[in-house]
């Protein structure tokens, strides 16, 4: 279970970094969405293998529970990530309306626009 998660996290990181290195702002956006999901999955892996452990909500039984803290962290991170993604999409739309392009190379083409 841990190995599969690790492989998936590695795959997601790879795709995310590939997308982040593109010039299209839309792809960078997708890259960041993937990156935050990869990190959330990585955090989930921190609670170790869930085999033979009970979910942390059960009561009374004397069996080892899954560590609930990473799940609480992920929950917070998902909420923050959702808000930021929403903002990011709106910013991208605004940029598209202003500049008629979502390509970084075209958008930053004019050198006097360095300001």
């Amino acid at each position: 279970m841990v190995l599969e998660t690790a492989l998936l996290v590695g795959l997601l990181f790879g795709i995310a970094i590939y997308l982040l290195l593109q010039t299209s702002f839309v792809r960078i956006l997708f890259g960041i969405v993937l990156l935050s999901n990869a990190v959330n999955l990585f955090l989930l892996g921190m609670s170790g293998s869930p085999d033979g452990k009970a979910p942390p909500i059960t009561s009374g039984e004397k069996i080892p529970l899954v560590d609930p803290l990473p799940q609480a962290l992920i929950l917070t991170a998902i909420v923050i990530g959702f808000g930021i993604t929403a903002y990011f999409v709106v910013l991208l739309y605004r940029l598209f309306l202003d500049q008629k392009t979502t390509n970084a190379a075209e958008m930053f083409h004019d050198r006097e626009g360095d300001k």
């Binding site: 960041i32 990190v39 959330n40 990585f42 962290l73 917070t76 930021i84 910013l91 300001k115």
Partner: protein, 500 residues
Amino acid sequence: MNTVILPFFLPLLTATLLLLLPPGKPRRWLAAFSAFAQLVVAIAFVVACSGGERWVLGVGAWMPPLGIALVIDLLAAIMLFLSSAMAFGCILFGYAELPSKLDHPLRLPLWQFLVAGINLSFITGDLFNLFVAFEIMLISSYALLTLEANDRDIKHAYPYLAINLVGSALFLLTTGVVYSIFGTLNYAEISQRAAAMPGDSNVTLVALLLFFVFAIKAGVFPFYYWLPNSYPTLATPLGAFFAGMLTKVGVYVLLRMFGTVLPHDLHGVHNLMAWLAGATMIFGVLGAISRPFIRGILSWHILSQIGYMVLAIGLFTPFAIAACILYIIHHIIVKGTLFLIGGAASYRLKSGDDLKNMGGLFRAEPLLAACFLLQAFSLGGVPPLSGFWGKYIIFVEGMKAGEYVLVGAAVLAGIMTLFSMLKIWNGAFWPALPVNAPVQRQPNYRLMLAIIGVYTALSIAIALGSGEVLKLSITAAETALDQAGYIEAVLGLQGKGAGY
């Protein structure tokens, strides 16, 4: 004591209340009053911690290591003072800039959220809580960066956003790694457990990850490119506040992590920090020389100054850490003032801040010119102004450590800083005004000048009282480096009730 939460709670409460009030005058009064109250609270904490005391609160009566601990020591209190002093002055500067009808309704509430995030990252004693504090701060800064930006400049928000999001993802990842290695996120407990595993390469891994995360936030070479293009798009008072505070939060966290949390014998990581800091100084100042407009020059200078601070942390002697704190105190005030002066100058000439179109300010506004000269020389490190003392101690500590190349780079960066400041002087202040250039005074120009004057006076006071400020910095450094005392204060809370 419960008062420990005030530096976070006051701006948060103010932000919420501001949203309920009608825009315009009422919001302005509330924001100014609250900023003043925050300043008073911060000064009270500096006084209360000046002997090296720590104020600890287990939030919601959850005792550390279980809940979130908030800790204010002298270093945190000094940072709180600087952030609230900058916020107060810059908010007032914003009032002088525009009539209250033209205020963007969201600027003041978002600014208070920003201050709340900054203050929380100073006082928190928990790594995940630090992540949340950074997110509060960054989300407000994203919004402020695009709130009043024009169609041409708004694109610079995108790289800022993208690189900070990657930084945040890396931060979250680091939190996960720390939790899996140490089994805790509480600073005191991490410190305790890291000390119990000497020579373990996992500790070095965590140190490297933490360094890279906060190097991105602080703008250390090679992670700085997002900064100098995005800051000039901000309105003057916001630009001054961002320039003064935001990257310094990164430097503060580096101080906290390497001083208080991680073991002190990570020489390899410290060396890496010092060399990257040297590169930051040189590249930052070269960028500054190449820019043709005031706020561009100043933004690049932030990087070069960050280099000095990180170099001081990299040298990692108690005296160098004290010099770093002294340098932060000087830098935040001087850099903020210079941004405000640049803004005031461009309002005065109605020309924007492109140096080609400026001139004549020395004759027209001698007071502004005097403030600029003082602060510019201070930034360059001319003795006996406030920038000199921090630099001097960093040079001495660098020589003692045998890092002659780095000290040489620091001296070179200092000289080039003066050169680029002369560029502003020769462009905006000294030459005659271009013919037919429109000149006007803002209606509230006097208030602007008064705020700039107060900050300049503050930086002169630091220079004149540098002995006292240095003593304060040394106490702050000693408290921050005293890991045993920190662990005792936080984890010993259990026996002492809700807080002390």
